[in-house]
Symmetry: C2
Subunit: 296 residues, 2 copies
């Protein structure tokens, strides 16, 4: 029996509608409630422009006021910090998102940490990261991709406690927090990474009830690698040549969907899986910060 597809597009559309409803209701009961996000883009990377456009469009759709601040690629660290300081102080702004990556002259870590922890809708600042990692800490703002994956798993009612999970990748914004969030829900998690040997990959993948792959390599996981009945979440966004497409390429994940779908019980597609969940979680985080700052 082929695996059931976890439809991130459907789940995110459903969540987006709920967010829209909640914002509309709040605006009605509290006429001064006016959730607003500011997105900062430095330079003109086309991929960044696409992401920023997508985020602003989504915001508009649910009733979040979105403003784009575009700065030249050669902006100095000092100027960036001043801009952020002003936004941190501006009470009409509930969320500040710095589109990454930044040009090399800028200190990405310092800038990420300069966003007020209450407005950090990406969840990338140190204090938000620490809250994810600390066992007894109250979660503050959770980074969008792992948050979106947890939402999908819960939506699909996939049990986590007592299960074995493998997270491929250990980045600060996906793999690292993902492992910790699964662990906090009672899964026993192994994080696989660039220093993990092929034999170890084989061993841990084959034993996992839940697999989250965020390594960015095409055809990284095959059906023969995984345990029958497992759940696979594919975070990969890789591009392969495809002459049938106008752009000459198409997006694929880390997972060989065809063969894995023969073995797994549930699996996310690429595109239409994790991607749309990540975008809607920006809205979810912004609604959270706007409510907090408006004492609602």
């Amino acid at each position: 029996m082929p695996a059931e597809k976890i439809d991130g597009k459907f789940i995110s559309t459903d969540l987006r509608a709920r967010i829209k409803d909640e914002i509309a209701t709040l605006k009605e009961s509290h006429p001064s409630f006016s959730p607003k996000i500011v997105i900062i883009q430095v330079g003109d990377r086309p991929d960044s422009s696409t992401y920023v456009r997508m985020k602003l469009k989504s915001c508009a759709e649910v009733g979040i006021d979105g403003e784009l601040l575009k700065y030249p690629a050669d902006i100095s660290q000092t100027e960036m910090m001043q801009k952020l300081d002003a936004l941190n102080k501006d009470t009409s702004v509930h969320g500040v998102l710095v589109q990454l990556p930044l040009p090399p002259q800028l200190d990405e870590e310092a800038i990420t940490n300069a966003v007020n922890v209450e407005k950090d809708v990406d969840g990338f600042s140190e204090l938000n990261i620490a809250a994810v990692f600390k066992k007894n800490s109250k979660l503050k703002i959770v980074p969008c991709t792992p948050k979106g994956i947890m939402y999908m798993l819960d939506y699909e009612k996939i049990p986590l406690e007592g299960k074995t999970a493998v997270v491929c990748g250990r980045s600060d914004i996906v793999g690292g927090p993902m492992s910790k969030l699964l662990e906090k829900r009672g899964a026993t998690v192994t994080t696989l990474h660039s220093k993990t040997t092929p034999e170890q990959f084989k061993f841990f993948l084959k034993n996992a009830d839940i697999i989250v792959s965020a390594v960015g390599r095409v055809n990284f996981i095959h059906g023969e690698d995984v345990k029958p009945g497992c759940v696979i979440v594919d975070v990969g966004t890789n591009y392969v040549a495809d002459a049938t497409k106008k752009s000459g390429q198409r997006m694929v994940g880390d997972v060989d969907y065809e063969s894995c779908a023969q073995v797994a019980s549930k699996i996310t597609p690429v595109p239409g899986g994790v991607g749309p969940m990540t975008v809607v979680m920006v809205l979810h985080n912004l609604l959270q910060t706007a409510k907090e700052q408006s004492h609602l």
Copy 2:
């Protein structure tokens, strides 16, 4: 061939001597260099008094000025925060250590976080925790027990990269950072915890090249559970009845030493393993903060 004992007492004595030498040298070249730690003890728990006494004695031995501030068990949160604020501002104090646990009226997390990150020699504050967890963050102050274990493993020249490690326990100050520190050095780490099933424990333990156990249960790991040639670090401090001792009890770890020593290649004893390493790392962290604050 029985396992080689990893002698934490010896390694910590050796490190303590190095710290003492470095402080003496620094005092000679910089006569104003006067490293100082303040330990805060709230109430009169006998175990806390023992630990505090031990730490102060160790400080004195290496040339660190130690001061104990003892507060009544009913001190208020506000008063505690004021005391910490004063210590944070006091430039003659390079490290502040709040002996845990605290009485129930006090908010342990808020108090731990109130210690200036530069003086947090326990490494328990959010920003220090975040630095351990973030992949690309420069490590600041690492909590003493995991830091001590890493030092021991390095002292014994135990390879970590490409190895499989299991950490039993996921506390914020031992298991959590331990897993991350091993991962940062290239090990593939599985963290086992209270929701891990017995079958999962069996499976992961048997496959691990390195085992760190911090669960606080007597006879938790036996020789038959582990992989031949593995390295075992026992963080457990449990007490069992022993009529031959004056106190009527003796301290044991999580690991059944006798049977494990028949299978492992190296193993830490209890006592005399991790315990003395943890104490000496307070000194190591204090020397680090004192040097930083004195711009040395």
